[in-house]
């Protein structure tokens, strides 16, 4: 167990190092730089600006400096298009917002998705099953940029104290959390239905039935544990994705989360911000996968 953990940890570190290195060079291969501006910047000004962030140095030197600052000072560098702002401030400001929204969405996804999937599996081929499946298909097929505005117009504009967008009043999390939650609920419903169907056809379930164990008990005691393994494997990375924000949800609902930075940093060529975000997201994914592995081990004795 410990050995497994240690090896996963080392793999994680290696992944992050490769990620940092690849990102560092890939962002510099894109056309333009953080100093590219619609109104041309005079050459002599550009020289001063580049020197102030070290972007005038050759790539290997920049790479060495970046790694040194990152490892020794935990310094991810500055933003270039925003004066006097550090990458760590941007992540520090926006991550708690995305985390809160992600947790709420995850709650909705779990509360809706898993029961729907389990009920569908138990009542296989019944109208309930078809309804759950239809719900899941709609959730998977309809993108958030359709569901989000529909909810905003349908609920936000009709109900006076639910705002269509914003992040200042206590009810502001409701619409974005539902949007983000429902999409993930749809995936979870399909996965848990599939997992449950697999388990329900196993011999040990038939044995339990033969021994006269009541239906409800078979589901909760015996089937659920194994049936949820595919869903749990999905939850790890999905959770990492949810708490790191979503560009679409954040722009539709005007939320100061982290997701928009992923897109804007790339179009703005904010080199240090892209690198910082990729590293941070990579860290979340690695950690979430590690936790998902642990959870699967706990659920499945054969994996121990």
């Amino acid at each position: 167990m410990l050995k497994l953990l240690a090896s996963r940890f080392l793999q994680g570190l290696l992944t992050l190092f490769v990620l940092v290195t690849l990102t560092f060079f890939l962002v510099r291969l894109m056309p333009g730089s953080p100093y590219t501006d619609e109104k041309a910047v005079p050459e002599h000004i550009l020289k001063e600006l580049k020197a102030s962030t070290g972007l005038d140095k050759p790539w290997p030197v920049q790479y060495g400096l970046y790694l040194r600052n990152l490892v020794l000072r935990q310094d991810m560098g500055p933003l270039i298009k925003k004066d006097g702002v550090q990458v760590s401030e941007v992540i520090g400001d926006s991550f708690p917002v995305s985390m809160a929204l992600g947790l709420a969405s995850m709650g909705i996804a779990l509360l809706v998705g898993i029961p729907a999937g389990v009920i569908a599996a138990v009542k296989r081929n019944s109208p309930t099953d078809f309804a759950c499946l239809a719900f899941a298909m709609i959730g998977i097929c309809l993108p958030s940029f359709v569901i989000g505005p529909l909810l905003a117009v349908g609920a936000g504009l009709k109900l006076h104290s639910i705002n269509v967008a914003g992040w200042s009043s206590p009810t502001d999390w409701i619409l974005p959390a539902i949007t983000l939650g429902l999409i993930n609920a749809a995936y979870l419903a399909r996965l848990s239905r599939g997992g449950m169907l697999d388990v329900l056809s196993q011999d040990y379930i038939r044995t339990a039935k033969a021994k006269g164990v009541p239906g409800r008990k078979i589901i909760t005691r015996h089937a659920l544990k194994g049936g949820l393994i595919p869903a749990v494997a999905f939850i790890g990375p999905a959770f990492a994705a949810m708490i790191s924000g979503s560009f679409v949800i954040e722009t539709i609902f005007q939320i100061p989360g982290m997701g928009q930075h992923f897109v804007n940093a790339a179009t703005d060529r904010e080199f240090f911000l892209i690198q910082g975000l990729v590293l941070f997201y990579g860290f979340l994914i690695v950690a979430a996968n590690l936790l998902a592995d642990l959870a699967q081990i706990a659920l499945n004795p054969r994996m121990r």
Partner: protein, 534 residues
Amino acid sequence: MLLRFAIFISCLSLISCQKESQVDRATKDGILLLANSSDPKSFDPQVVTGVLESNINRALFEGLIAFHPTEDLAAPGGVALEVVPDETFTVWTATLRPDAKWSDGHPVTAEDFAFTYERILSPGLGAKYASMLYFMEGAEDFNLGKTKDFSTVGMKVIDPLNFEMTLRGPTPFFRELLKHYTWYPVPKHKVLEYGTIAQIGNLWSKPENLVSNGPYRIKSFRRNAHIEVERNPYYWDAENVTLNGIRFLPISNVFTEARMFRDGQLHVTYGAAPEVVDLMKKVDPSAVRQEPYLGTVLYRFNTTRAPLDDVRVRRALSMALDREALCDNVFRGYLPAYGMTPPMGDYDPPHGTSFDPAAARKLLAEAGYPGGKGFPRLGLLIASRETAATLATAVQAMWREHLGVEVEIENKEWTAYIVATQSLEYDIVAGGWIGDYIDPLTFLEMWTPDNGNNNTGWDSKPFVAKLEESIQATDPAVRYELLFEAESILLEDSPITPIAWWGKNYLIHPSVKGWEPLLLDNHPFKNLKLVPQD
């Protein structure tokens, strides 16, 4: 499950009983809720370059000359009582208000202005808009590092309240220039407290350190959420400031801001997409505003590439554009542009190419492409923002229909598009220009061969000669005539084809009073009123 859902719905309906919207509340509190697109690059007026930053700076700072709430070309005194020229419009003397103060109570002095101009012109600061001050004698050489002696620049402090600015030539429109934020003062004592004069990233302009001289001072800032400003008690005209504060909201999505407006979360939106304008005209027409704005939508031709190096080809392409149809169908509130410069004040731009398909076909035939035969397939580069793609598709169809010419629309991501434009890696490229101040020069200067915004490869000696002549002209009427002639050369040679003069579309709540159409959209906030609606 059902029960839980029922509880949730009843909670929703309970909260929905409260009726007062954010706008109603803010109106009572005298706070303007203003959509402002995005977070500013900085609060330092000397390092920013954008429209959204200028909105925030206009609340926080005040220049020598202020904006008038209704008149574009009026020049009321701001921090200066007056700015007076000599008879050649070359030497200007500014007299500051004795009661002008920074938001920490320090007086605003001539010394602050000398420091400010030295700062923005210091090459080390890397101020992208330093060239706005090149109108001052010696400013360009100082900014280019040719001299380190600031006394060579035409800025002379006479006493704490008076200073004299010597310009490179007669500049009758200098008061217009002075309204631009690059000329706003910065507090010498604060800048030096947090660093040196020409230090990039000097922390004086961090929100928690910021000291300003305008009607408002910064109250709170939350990244990507809001910027709130409150009354500056030290402002010289504090008693006439009507609004108690302004909340700038960085909403980047035009549809989100439209929904927020309808939900009572905004007084004024930053813009309005064509779809929003059409819808709102049906459901709430009084909220829609469509006003002329000092900008031009244009296409650039790469004059270094065949066949666009042939003026006949460029003119033919330009003449085949039905600008009226484009304005009616693609844009909302834009006007067909036949000149580079939108009409402003006494300047009426020359009329360039009109829509004339027959003449266009004839010109193209003369250039060796009768009916478009043998014409190479050119690329039309755009960045997919706003209406760019719709416009390109319409233009593509017009060229096909009227000239038999095929162009291929190339869609690039924003930064890649700018890089391609600036390195002349395109055939035809979509673009636009927003004026910095109300004078034709801001639309014409850019077409000189060494200007970084030319990006067409066009190099015309007669054009440059006319511009240079205009810089020396003392008589404003003669000056406009020379600029008119320069613009005529530009339109005749057609390295660009103007398409539409910008229109500003936005939504405004009826409680906002005193927000009148202005060409630069630079509304002085201190004169606005918020009147609660019944």
